[in-house]
């Protein structure tokens, strides 16, 4: 994100909405109810017994669900908030994505509770450029009540932005497949990581080569890697960016359980948390219709 305040006339105009109500005496479309709680728990795989049975409470994090407008739109939205959104739409900022959510729960909600709410526009940022596109952050705060009694507060930040349609990503470079390594790539296509093994002296080797470095024998067979390994060494690539790759990312030299090393991406862990000795497990990443590559996912213990 970077600030671009110069000449941001729209931003100055939007700022004037800070402090204005966004919703006054809004009402939830449904009372808090067991079926919606059950759907939520099913969707999220939440088996907490506190959310079922005669004394059930609603999952506290479900708070915003009770005030959502849904397909039929919001009740209780003010003219000020509609204007703010309208100005953004008119400026091309038609897309919206939520970035922050802060909720405080004063007491649990239970089936039968009828929720009312008031929302205020707390803050509108200046123009910002993000990966998705250029737009404005709008922060609102909602006070949620049941029968006039405060039950929760909810601060919410959205980015309303001018979308930049996604160009298809360039394709990842193709591996060079030749007579010596074709068997390796056939294995990868079948989701098997094959290691070459000298049939004369038993030494495993990678990458694939026509002969054994230990004894010189040209005879070999293969063993399938178990997929277990550790990071022997790594680099983080920041620059230069290559098409089809999204830096920064970690490239590891992985020591496989079978005793050979190979180079590939370390995934499933932020690039700056890759460490020597990190346990990893093989997986196959499908890049496009024609290319699958072996990568290594961090295993946390």
């Amino acid at each position: 994100m970077r600030e671009e305040q110069v000449g941001d006339e729209l931003g100055a105009r939007l700022k004037e909405y800070e402090g204005c109500p966004a919703a006054v005496a809004g009402t939830g479309k449904d009372p808090v109810n067991a079926p919606m709680i059950r759907h939520w728990c099913e969707a999220l795989g939440d088996t907490n017994p506190a959310y079922t049975g005669p004394d059930a409470i609603a999952p506290p994090t479900m708070l915003q669900t009770w005030t959502m407008g849904g397909l039929s739109g919001h009740r209780g939205r003010t003219g000020a908030y509609q204007e703010l959104l309208g100005l953004l739409d008119a400026a091309g900022c038609t897309a919206v994505v939520a970035t922050d959510c802060e909720q405080e729960y004063l007491r649990p909600l239970r089936p039968g509770d009828e929720v009312t709410f008031d929302t205020v526009i707390e803050e509108v940022s200046g123009r910002r450029t993000t990966r998705l596109g250029t737009g404005y952050f709008v922060t609102t705060r909602t006070d949620v009540r049941v029968a006039g009694e405060p039950v929760a507060t909810h601060r919410f930040r959205i980015l309303k932005y001018a979308p930049v349609p996604r160009a298809p990503l360039p394709r990842r470079p193709r591996p060079v497949v030749n007579r010596d390594n074709a068997g390796f790539w056939r294995g990868v296509a079948e989701h098997r990581l094959l290691i070459q093994r000298c049939t004369a002296c038993g030494t495993p080797r990678h990458p694939w080569l026509p002969g054994c470095n230990a004894c010189g024998s040209p005879d070999w067979d293969t063993v399938e890697a178990s997929g277990e390994g550790t990071v022997h060494s790594y680099v983080v690539l920041h620059h230069p960016p290559f098409p089809a790759f999204d830096p920064p990312y970690a490239v590891g030299l992985i020591e496989l359980a079978e005793g050979v090393r190979m180079v590939s991406n370390v995934v499933g862990v932020p690039y700056d948390e890759v460490r020597i000795g990190l346990p990893v497990r093989l997986e196959f990443q499908r890049c496009d219709e024609e290319l699958t590559v072996p990568v290594f996912r961090a295993v946390r213990r």
Partner: protein
């Protein structure tokens, strides 16, 4: 329970079903959470998880660990790299501070693109403080 305690990680396979079911269960009908073509027109490579689902998963992670008597007081999250279908999110948590029966847990959800969510959860454990 002490400051510095780590919660066991929770691995969430980010399936298309989870993204769509979570969006609908939270009454969020924004097209970017269920329609891949419209998501691409809005600059995303595919549909992505809505913030309410992430919020719910962060809450679930903490209550799964502390049990049904744990009471969530506060959940504050910030989203980073989106959760797209086919990814895996690994939730990890550390107890940051403990005061009486209340703990603040710092939660991070990492996916293949980077950090999807960072946040703090304030939770009260009725038995712990007594």
């Amino acid at each position: 329970m002490r400051a510095g305690d780590r919660l066991p990680p929770l691995r969430i396979p980010v399936t298309r079903t989870l993204i769509v079911a979570g969006a609908l269960a939270s009454r969020d009908f924004q097209d970017v959470h269920h329609d891949p073509e419209l998501a691409r027109r809005k600059g995303a490579p595919d549909i992505f998880m809505n913030i309410l689902t992430t919020n719910g998963l962060v809450g679930r992670y903490v209550t799964d660990h502390f049990g049904p008597a744990a009471v969530l007081r506060k959940v504050a999250i910030r989203l980073g790299a989106p959760n797209h279908p086919g990814d895996t999110m690994l939730l990890t948590g550390t107890v940051e501070e403990v005061a009486g029966d209340t703990a603040v847990v710092r939660v991070v959800g990492a996916n293949g693109l980077g950090t999807h969510v960072t946040g703090t959860v304030t939770v009260t454990l009725p038995e712990a403080g007594a």
